[in-house]
Symmetry: C2
Subunit: 240 residues, 2 copies
DNA sequence: CCAAAAGTGTTAAGCATACACCCATGC
DNA sequence: GCATGGGTGTATGCTTAACACTTTTGG
């Protein structure tokens, strides 16, 4: 391709980085992989790469995530673009960061392992290259902000899930604990869950009822729940 | 500068666009200017340009805003990066959008006019090039989200301002009306305003008391008010 | 004196929070 | 039969939201 028609001199490389949070029913984790190119080859890095001329940013992010981890059908949300001049020592690179929150399943685990990627508990994340640590911090903040204004869960919990599981997810996101009576009351009052008559007995003798999401929530989004009154916070109570 | 060391073939141009909202005490406006280059020369456009190799995105946005309008010391906040492949018909350009909300003053007016820029009422914005219309929509949404979670006003109202002015600002942002008794009660309960003993009589015979912001709010931000409990929405009531 | 905007107080309803006990079951 | 986690209800205080009249003063 010929040089830019607007400015022959601009020479900026464009990358995307994906901050992928995962929930396994117990813990919130972060997906990392070992960088394959210099500089910092073999250091832990977010899932990222340069985008192609022919891919939009959104498409490019999806493809890169698939190529580097095997994950597909992940709803990625744009977080922020990082553009400090010297953030990459090799050359001028700006990076458009995307994030998502998915449920970790066996399918994912196999795929990820075969790609040299790995899930890390959020409190055991190793040193990351460049400004990736900052990206993760920003993504957590964003995740919390979203979770407090919109319920989420589609694609992020198993199709059927229990309220204790949902509570655990929220507790991990906020690094706090909620009173189960208030939590259940609040969640059920949102009117977006349907109780099934099945029970999950994997974590207690009594078993917990399985719920599913009501249709009409955003099918494409792991995070946002459409048509939801954003003025009514989902999580306000932080008391026990 | 030599070609990219990561990828010799990537050829993507990077621009920034600034969505500048202005408040003149009565109306919320949008700053536009007439594009100076083909394609679409002389069409109305957001304030934007390519960034330089030596400028970070944040710095580049500030400089471009200054160059094209004369505005300086504007706290710009990154909105989103737009990266559809064909968003610019001439070549592949991604644009990092920034936005701000400032008060419109005489100083600004002169400077802006001399730069061929112009303030438009939000409901009278002309057709914009590329995806700039979408950017404006996204910025309004973001502005509302911010305004509902954090009080704002520093740098965005005159140093001294009246509560009716503040109410007008919020009403314009949300395109709705608030009950003045509830609005005042809520704002004053935030504890971030100081009543002065001066009155502004420009809009009524009785005159309205002038208030100022308490120190300790974010001095650098026109929009965010730091150290504010983000779990307590500022604007929830939308009733009259 | 009157028009026009500023300023003020109360009540009812809804929501958040705190808190303690019974239930079902596998072992 | 008991330990474990699941499930439920109520009372209190705070925030929101609805609502109407008085004050000030320039003209």
């Amino acid at each position: 391709m010929s040089a830019s028609k607007y400015d022959l001199n601009q020479q900026i490389t464009v990358a995307v980085d994906c901050i992928i949070f995962g929930f396994d029913g117990e813990n919130l984790k972060l997906l990392l992989f070992k960088r394959k190119v210099e500089p910092f080859i073999n250091s832990w890095s977010l899932i990222g790469s340069l985008i192609k001329n022919s891919d939009s940013l959104d498409d490019g992010a999806k493809k890169i995530l698939y190529r580097l981890t095997g994950l597909s059908d992940v709803y990625l949300q744009q977080l922020k673009t990082y553009g400090e001049v010297d953030r990459d020592p090799l050359e001028r690179v700006i990076s458009v960061a995307y994030y998502s929150l998915i449920r970790i399943e066996q399918f994912h685990l196999d795929s990820i392992q075969s790609h040299d990627a790995e899930w890390f508990n959020l409190d055991e994340v190793p040193e990351l290259i460049f400004d990736h640590g900052q990206m993760v911090q920003d993504a957590i903040r964003q995740l919390r902000a979203q979770a407090s204004n919109q319920p989420f869960g589609v694609e992020l919990l198993p199709e059927l899930f229990t309220l204790p599981q949902l509570q655990t997810l929220y507790e991990k996101i906020y690094s706090t604990e909620f009173d189960s009576r208030n939590f259940r009351k609040k969640m059920l009052s949102l009117g977006i869950f349907i109780k099934t008559d099945k029970k999950d007995k994997s974590s207690s003798k009594k078993g917990a009822f399985l719920y599913k999401f009501k249709k009409g929530g955003s099918a494409s989004s792991a995070i946002a729940y459409e048509n939801f009154d954003s003025f009514r916070p989902v999580v306000r109570f932080l008391g026990k």
